[in-house]
Amino acid sequence: MTGPDPAALYRTVRLIRRFEERAIELVDAGEIVGGIHPYLGQEGIAAGVCAALEAGDLVTGTHRGHGHVLAKGADPARMLAELCGRVTGLNRGRGGSMHAADFGVGVLGANAIVGAAGAILTGAVWERRRRGADLVGATFFGDGAVNEGMLLEAFNLAALWRVPVLFVCENNGYATTMPVAGAVAGTIAGRAEAFGMPATAVDGQDPETVREAAAAAVARMRAGGGPELIEAHTYRFDAHHTFEHRVRLDYRPPQEVADGRSRDPVEIAGARLDPAARAEIDASVEAVLAAAVDFALAGPHPDPATALDHLYASGLTARTGGG
């Protein structure tokens, strides 16, 4: 089991935080088209869970997925290039923010359909283990996803077939604008318990708390204990999507937003470090991101003639749409 490493956890949350902030600047500058779903405030969950995983373990994430991909080890520069739609991006500019994937580090894709990634990860972990690999998986989803039948079916399959998948619910209180209280009957932990899956609720704002819970769950899963669920309570500091920066949506009381922002995972993780060590990490993250922005903006735009490249792995060529 991975032991606590406050510096590494801090570095990850800080990296994700600054990545998101730089990405929002690039949205505002028109370099990232289509906007992003900011992960600001939720960084402790990806950082904590991925710190409990091994390099060979598998992850799937969501439309709010930058943190998951970065925490699992993807290159921030190629990730940012992907958001900017460049051929140097992780997905060669074909996926963008909501589909960032890096199979090389075990990230089998962010998925933009709510609740869809759990069953995919369950199948992937099952197949790798059938081939003898001793690995586990973690799939991230929001509180909105617990009302999707596909995800509940995946709970059942994973529990029934004892596939070691850590189902990580990032409960930030809102499915877009719908509050949890108006959407979830019963409880999120109760969803897991109905399938005989252990469920733990944790403070998602403290990456070390998340890491501890995830490490304990992963250890039980590696020992053959079957899937588990972690419900991490968190708060989304920013908009559901950067589109909200331009429209006024009134769904969160200002006091609630202020309270939520007062528990900042970057500060919670940073307070555990010596200020000089923290400053050194901050400086190194800034350097990484400055280089990432340069790399992303220097990458070539894809050639329109290649728009349907990779559509068919078999090499099939699609008919064109013109005349």
Binding site: R94, A101, I120, G123, A124, E153, A154, L157, A313
Partner: protein, 321 residues
Amino acid sequence: MPRLSYRRALTRALADEMTRDESVVVLGEDIRVAAANVTTGLVKKFGPERVRDTPLSEQAFTSFATGAALAGARPVVEFQIPSLLFLVFEQIVNHAHKFPLMTGGQCAVPVTYLVPGSGSRTGWAGQHSDHPYALFAHAGVTTVVPATPADAYGLLVSAIRCDDPVVVFAPAGALELREDVTEPAPVPLGRGVVRRAGDDVTVVAVGHLVHDALAVADELAGQASVEVFDPRTLYPFDWDGLVGSVSRTGRLVVVDDGNRSCGIAGEIIATVVERVRLAAPPRRVTRPDGAVLPFAPALDRAVQPGRDQLTAAIQLTLKDG
């Protein structure tokens, strides 16, 4: 020569591919006891790990297959009821089909979706009798509809070996067919075949309707020389093969057991008229727009394309020019 039934051809293709390639696994409802009579004997031969009975969780096990494919498997997912494809259309089209492009070529999703008993099974009524191949062709998912036992074997083998998702529609109306097959062999995807040569009109027939078209061609033998073209794969379609046929006959009739609007028959006609100057307006015989198969057998038959309609369409086409 050994007689091979269509249904056993599917079983044999599964068994042969599972023997050849450890990465082939089969998933589906009641497949352990072979409720659809296609996976017969597989669990005994390959074990329950590779022949997995699933709970009634179509959406999850369809995406589970996608995940398994991302991790190196070649899953075959059996659906006992064709209309279940509506339930998993999202998982096939929005995930399995899109993953390779969206990831910039980081993965392949070689899943085969096998539907043994597509179309009318007489008496199974509105929610068990659809034949939704055109939806998958429209979405760009490789879509095959074998008409004969040899093609059922050969196309299923090729589907399993294909690196893309492939939906294999085995029409209920063809499952009981038998033919002499000495050496079952793979049949390439995307290649049609002329089942009967003729000079006056090309009839394109899909799946079990190939046999109706051949019967009608025989009946009309004194009046007209009918060529029957079996595309075998609806996406990708063998356009060159069909254009070759229609270029010679100059006339086109399509018979297709799908709904009329936006159906595969419409696509076939549109593509041919883009490329060939016809001697007469083309015609199509299909299910009606928005068809729902009624229960009573006479009503069920009335909605499906029939031989009489096909005969009339051919005769009108010949009369028109």
